[in-house]
Amino acid sequence: MTTSIGRKPSSTIPVVTVILAIIMIWYAGAINLNSPQIIDRYEKKGIDWSFTQLATDSWNMKRAVLPSPHQILAELKTTIIDKNVTSKRSLVFHAGITLSSTLLGFVLGAGLGISLAVGIVYVETLDKSLMPWIITSQTIPILALAPMVIVVFGAMGISGLLPKALISMYLCFFPVAVGMVKGLRSPQPMLVDLLNTYSASKWQVFWRLRLPSAVPFLFASLKVAIALSLVGAIVAELPTGGQAGLGARLLSGSYYGQTNLIWASLIVAAVMSASLVSILGIIERKVCYRLAGGQEISNEL
């Protein structure tokens, strides 16, 4: 079957417009935030200054309050392209470390979330007892919890990937569990009755009806979860005292007032998060297309 999937109007022009607007506002903001220090300097040295000079100086200031886009791009170039990947100053190196704990945490969290959902849907006692605890778990601020987990595991001699992945898991099992419970309960009562008339076993109903029906709900949750998993990984890297990972780069950037480094790390984190969500989105479309029997679907995020 060769059906063209719903042709959308091109989004290039709106996207470019918005990006240009953001860049303009950014440069204006850089003047606004950086100029007090620059003007101070002019006055100390008694220099006559024009607005153009002020603008140029604020856009190229070292350790600026708000570095301008071209400075951040230059920082990205040095830390991504110019530095060797194995170098401790390479953002690729640090992004790789964050990515590995994001992915491990995501896999563990998705696994935990799905298992909890199956338990809740199939075991009545779990249905009544588990949900309040799951919700309570999410009311604890991750910023408070993360250092404790890292310290406790560190005391046990476990550091690096696993404790960080556990914090990611803690953040991302929740949307998966909630979405999956809803998904597993989504089949029409008529379809459940149909399988009952065949006297199908619980697991036959699970594999043939509940799981396929839950897949669209699962993907919506997974997209939220993977973004949260990255947040968890970065937060978990902060209390380690800036050893490795994007979180560590953010921390050392703020220790030493290297705002360029902070912004470059943030942008790498954002690009990574957006890419992970997009990859899941592509898989989602393929899988849901098959689940709809090749019918066009229009539930895009």
């Binding site: 029409q188 008529m190 379809l191 009755d193 149909l194 399988l195 009952n196 008339t197 065949y198 006297s199 199908a200 036959q204 043939r208 009806l209 396929p212 098959r290 689940l291 709809a292 029997g293 090749g294 019918q295």
Partner: protein, 268 residues
């Protein structure tokens, strides 16, 4: 269950005695079924007819063990409905096609065969055979959304027949279809029943459909859901849709209509 009761029940495929069923809703108790007595013999085509809320679908769901009666006794093939369901004694066709969208037509028909553990060759053979019976050969690889409503319902009929049950429950299977498709499927269903000698229990709210298809018509009435008349309906076996113009057809239809009117409370 003792042997004696099993023996006495052999002729009666369905035996319903003093069945009551109450639904507890927020607005109080709804008497969906009240003192229903009914027996259905092997090879009969019995229709339940009545207005919405008369309990016709509920009665069928009780027979299929999809609903538990509050009181009374029900035997299906001499067993409790739960046992009959576990032995996969019946096929059930729902109001909607209830097809799985991710399965092709063929795979939808294979679903009960897979669940009931038929081997691969048998599965393929039965699916082919019953898709042919409902004139859907050539559509095996299509997905449900690519078929019309009538074709989808035929797939669901093929699916119910594929496990070759001797008892078939059909809950308003043609209710959502247009008149012409419905006539056509009525004709096909009549031939199928005559060929296979299955026992069919059929729920409908169409008088012509009930009279055309049935050997017996059970007229039901709401609040509380109960049987108010059982009409024998022995039209010639070789009847076609044209019989709907004949005096004997119209006489039976008239009696069904009178029964429905008598049980209907116009204050509602």
């Amino acid at each position: 269950m003792n042997l004696a009761s099993t023996n006495t029940a052999t002729n009666n495929v369905v035996e319903v005695k003093e069945v009551c069923l109450d639904f507890h809703t927020k607005d109080g108790v709804v008497k969906a079924l009240s003192n229903v007595d009914l027996s259905i013999n092997a090879g009969e085509f019995v229709s339940f007819i009545g207005p919405s809320g008369c309990g016709k679908t509920t009665l069928m769901r009780v027979l299929a063990d999809l609903e538990k009666p509050t009181s009374g006794s029900v035997l299906v093939n001499g067993m409790s409905p739960a046992e009959a369901r576990k032995q996969r004694a019946y096929g059930y066709v729902f109001q909607a096609p209830a097809l799985l969208p991710w399965r092709t037509v063929q795979d939808n028909v294979l679903l009960p065969l897979e669940i009931m553990g038929y081997n691969k060759d048998q599965r393929q053979k039965l699916a082919q055979e019953y898709l042919q019976l409902v004139s859907l050969s050539g559509f095996e690889a299509k997905y449900p959304w690519q078929l019309s409503g009538g074709m989808q319902q035929r797939v669901s009929i093929a699916r119910a027949l594929s496990v070759e049950p001797q008892l078939l429950f059909m809950d308003e299977p043609f209710g959502a279809l247009d008149e012409i498709t419905r006539d056509h499927l009525n004709d096909q269903l009549l031939r199928l029943w005559q060929q296979t000698k299955k026992t069919v229990v059929f729920v409908t709210h169409s008088i012509p459909e009930a009279v055309f298809l049935s050997s017996r018509i059970v007229v039901m009435s709401p609040r509380p859901g109960r049987i108010i008349d059982i009409i024998d309906c022995n039209l010639p076996a070789d009847r076609t849709l044209d019989i709907r113009e004949s005096p004997e057809f119209l006489a039976i239809a008239q009696r069904v209509r009178a029964g429905l009117a008598a049980g209907h409370n116009y204050d509602d």
